[in-house]
């Protein structure tokens, strides 16, 4: 994975930059000692590391604005950072860049139950947004598995999703407004407590722009009242084809579960050994969850179980207690952890049309044999967002490269069948060089033209999202 060479002029002006930043930032907000900047050398994609020139941890929008103004003035690249859990290398710094991290900006600014929104500083973690309204019966719907750690800032930048997005949507569907600082320090307000922001849909554009258009410091988020209850059912099948058919039939029947999760045999076995959720040993396992009052849940599960029975399941088990529901979900939620116990793994994130599920699983199986690397599958089946986990040995010479190669092949397969490279983790550096498999040059050109408008000098997170060769002329012209 290539990153652009650091700009020597910037490295040479480090002390001048630090002086200007120190002139208005409190001591604890400016980190530049190499022993401390190392903590910021990577995000969740730990295979790639590089400490930044400096790290700024502002406490306010005004401090973000002033920092950006100075960096813009001096031509210093800026890498925005939330909690650093990105799996795509979105928050990976370069040697000549300043990280602006929002980790100290965690306040709840306004909670309004009548109008069903909460306004927070974006350094707040996803789970603690729900935490702030939970006692009053409300929640914030998008629930990435990393929700304990990841920040709203990163959620917005990556348009993150979660297990329950089949019903509630991903971040972009739950974001009502932002305060965003442009690279030149201009503070903008977009949207707010009303629906459908005015003018062109800049809010929709910013969500998922991977920190390349501005730094988001505050966000207005939609909150909902918690459902009265929820209950999952476990369905096991002897073939993934039949499981795929069952998913499709459930969707067609007009029931809208909050989640339909899928695990294959390798994943079931690893998870079972780790969490003991009581999963059956079968080829394909579905967890389908519905919400409502007890009677409503019964009504929906009846329909779902009728459909499941028509496909001859090897296991069909409705959770009968709160405890059992928790155990069922614990298995699924600890799948990544379980795989991590037995191996190093790389987690892919392509999305496919759900009807292509059986074909894609079959092909992944074949490719896994070709490459001699095991692949376990666990994913959001309702929306086709796959998470193949490729197992490899980081200590073995060449294994990482082989794994990356197989990963790229699987993602190309996703695109081939009508899907995309990434459903929720983002492009970052990881999938940057695959972008031309999904898009033609003019499609990328117009996306880069959008960045030109927000960040004419290409200083914000410049080496991400677009293949380096495609963004070359822009980044170099900007220097």
């Amino acid at each position: 994975m290539d990153m652009p060479k650091p700009n020597p002029t910037i490295l040479a002006r480090k002390s001048q930059l630090l002086d200007r930043l120190a002139s208005f930032l409190p001591r604890e907000a400016l980190i530049h000692d190499p022993s401390e900047t190392r903590a910021y050398e990577c995000d969740g994609l730990t295979a790639y590391k590089c400490p930044p020139l400096a790290v700024v941890l502002p406490a306010s929008t005004a401090e973000v604005s002033e920092t950006l103004r100075i960096c813009n003035d001096m031509g210093v690249p800026v890498v925005p950072r939330g909690a650093g859990t990105s799996l795509a290398g979105g928050a990976l710094p370069t040697e000549d860049s300043v990280i602006i991290g929002v980790a100290r900006m965690t306040e709840v600014l306004e909670t309004d139950y009548d109008n069903r929104f909460i306004r927070v500083q974006t350094g707040r973690t996803n789970l603690s947004v729900t935490g702030a309204v939970e006692e009053d019966g409300f929640f914030y719907a998008p629930d990435p598995s990393s929700q304990l750690a990841c920040a709203i800032a990163g959620n917005i930048a990556m348009n993150s999703g979660g297990a329950h997005c089949l019903k509630y949507g991903v971040t972009t569907n739950n974001l009502m407004g932002v305060t965003m600082v442009l690279m030149d320090g201009t503070v903008t307000e977009i949207g707010g407590a009303h629906l459908d922001a005015e003018g062109l849909d800049l809010l929709g554009l910013i969500c998922g722009s991977e920190g390349q258009l501005g730094i988001v410091t505050e966000a207005t988020l939609r909150i909902l009242h918690k459902p009265e209850g929820a209950r999952p059912v476990l369905i096991g099948y002897d073939s993934s084809e039949i499981a795929g058919q069952c998913v499709s039939d459930i969707i067609k029947a007009g029931v809208l579960p909050v989640a339909i999760e899928f695990m294959d045999r390798p994943c079931i076995r690893a998870t079972e050994a780790f969490a003991g959720a009581g999963y059956p040993d079968c080829e394909a396992l579905l967890i389908v969850e519905v919400e409502g009052s007890d009677a409503e849940i019964d009504e929906q599960l009846e329909t779902i179980m009728d459909i499941a029975r028509k496909h001859d399941p090897v296991e069909l088990r409705q959770s009968s207690s709160e405890d059992e529901s928790k155990r069922i979900w614990l298995g699924r939620k600890s799948a990544f952890g379980a795989m991590g116990k037995i191996n190093d793994y790389m987690c892919l994130d392509g999305t496919i049309p759900v009807n292509e599920l059986p074909y894609v699983l079959k092909r992944i199986g074949e490719m896994s044999k070709e490459y001699g690397l095991d692949v376990a599958n666990v994913f959001h089946a309702g929306d086709g967002n796959m998470h193949p986990l490729i197992l490899f040995d980081a200590n073995k010479e060449g294994d990482l490269e082989l794994c990356e190669e197989l990963g790229a092949e699987i993602l190309k397969l996703c695109v081939e069948v009508g899907g995309c490279l990434t459903g929720e983790h983002g492009v970052g550096i990881e999938k940057r060089d695959l972008m031309l498999h999904q898009y033609d040059p003019p499609d990328l050109e117009i996306q880069m033209a959008v960045k030109d408008v927000f960040d004419p000098k290409w200083l914000l997170n410049p080496a991400k999202v677009f293949p380096l060769a495609s963004s070359d002329t822009r980044r170099i012209a900007a220097e």
Binding site: G204, G254, Q300, V453
Partner: protein, 394 residues
């Protein structure tokens, strides 16, 4: 006989100039690339909106047809000029629908013509179910469009979750043909619901009504419509519930209990009556007859009654739990009052019917206006796509 690529069309829609009517995306791209004057982009022309545009009309009405429909994957790919009615029928045959419930503007605006699916998304029109299901833009998965240079571009795809690159899909939704001409759309569709019930409270003043709607929307009972309107029988506050039969009955009961302090509620479960009721709200039927300017306000729900009260003599229809306010005022009056009130509270107001020459949309803050002008300059450097429609000339 009509010439290929030309479409006569009624004068009321196309004005005196004959519309360009490409029959393929390639032909459309060629027409845009070689255009030497501004183009007025139209679907069916049923929703003249924004500042009126002078230019050569160009209609997508001949780019029609369903390209792909996968009911089991809840996805539909369709050409932009396809009549909305055709989309509706295609989906209904599989028990599915466009969940965001877009309105039909013809009654309100006195227009004729065949509304197109491209027009729906170009204007990001969503009806009562927007509060629960999301807006039109939330159901748009992918687009193909022709930009102002005649370049064909695509963004997004046909899968439910996609964060590959920037989300230009959202940007194109609601851009009113000022960034590009949509040619093909991939949509997420949803199952239609089996049963509907509407709980109606009578005689509430606006403030009490919006508070009641908020209380219901803040409950776990999944309201899919929340409106307050004036009728010949006085004010009515309506809450819609949809789903399976037992569940609908249960939730209707819970809502009645929740709002029991506000007087006896009436519960309507007849399908046809419900359809008509919510269509009337969706299409603002109460303002179809008679004169007056029509404004559409998007505000924080609890601000809505106060804003309405500042506009002397205005009549109001509240949808989206109060967050969407339709106001009728005498012709050419109150524009400044409405803009100022919305500006102070936060939100935006659009003049839908009336003299729109001075600007139809809420003026934007200078940094946002600069970003939007910048985007238009990139997507349409010659400034030929609906120039000035959204308020600032390119």
């Amino acid at each position: 006989m009509t010439l290929p690529g030309r479409c006569p069309g009624p004068r009321s829609i196309f004005g005196t100039m004959k519309a360009l009517a490409p029959t393929s995306e390639a032909e459309l791209a060629e027409m845009v690339a070689s255009a030497s004057e501004p183009l007025r982009i139209m679907g069916g022309g049923t929703r003249p909106i924004g500042v009126p545009v002078n230019g050569q009309p160009l209609t997508t009405s001949r780019l029609t047809g369903v390209t792909l429909y996968e009911p089991g994957a809840l996805t539909l790919v369709v050409q932009a000029g396809t009549p909305v009615e055709e989309v509706r029928k295609t989906l209904a045959a599989e028990g599915q629908r466009l969940a965001f419930e877009p309105m039909d503007h013809r009654g309100l605006l006195g227009t004729t013509g065949e509304p197109t699916i491209g027009g729906v998304f170009a204007a990001n029109v969503s009806g009562p179910r927007r509060i629960q299901a999301g807006a039109a833009r939330d159901f748009l998965l992918g687009v193909r469009f022709v930009d102002g240079q005649g370049q064909v571009t695509r963004n997004g795809g046909r899968v439910m979750k996609n964060v590959t690159g920037y989300d230009l899909v959202k940007l194109m939704a609601g851009s009113y043909g000022t960034l590009g001409v949509l040619t093909e759309l991939a949509l997420k569709v949803l199952p239609a619901s089996h049963h509907t019930a509407t709980i109606t409270l009578s005689g509430l003043d606006d403030t009490t009504a919006v508070a009641a709607l908020s209380r219901a929307l803040g409950s776990p009972f999944e309201i899919t419509g929340a409106a307050h309107r004036q009728t010949a029988d006085g004010p009515q506050t309506c809450l819609r519930i949809e789903g399976f039969e037992k569940s609908v009955a249960y939730r209707a009961g819970q809502i009645q209990t929740l709002l029991a302090d506000l007087g006896a509620a009436k519960v309507e479960t007849d399908p046809d009556t419900n359809t008509t009721l919510w269509q009337d709200i969706r299409d603002v039927a109460c303002f179809h007859d008679g004169e007056g300017d029509i404004w559409r306000l998007s505000v924080k729900p609890s601000d809505a009654p106060g804003i309405k009260a500042q506009v002397d003599g205005a009549e109001a229809l509240y949808d989206w739990g109060g967050g969407l306010v339709w106001l009728r005022v005498p012709q050419n009056t109150h524009a400044d009052t409405i803009r100022a009130a919305v500006n102070a509270a936060g939100g935006h107001a659009t003049l839908i019917r009336g003299n729109r020459a001075g600007g139809a949309f809420q003026p934007l803050s200078p940094p946002i206006a600069a970003l939007q002008d910048g985007l238009r300059a990139r997507f349409d450097p010659r400034g030929i796509l609906n120039p000035g429609l959204m308020g600032r000339a390119a």
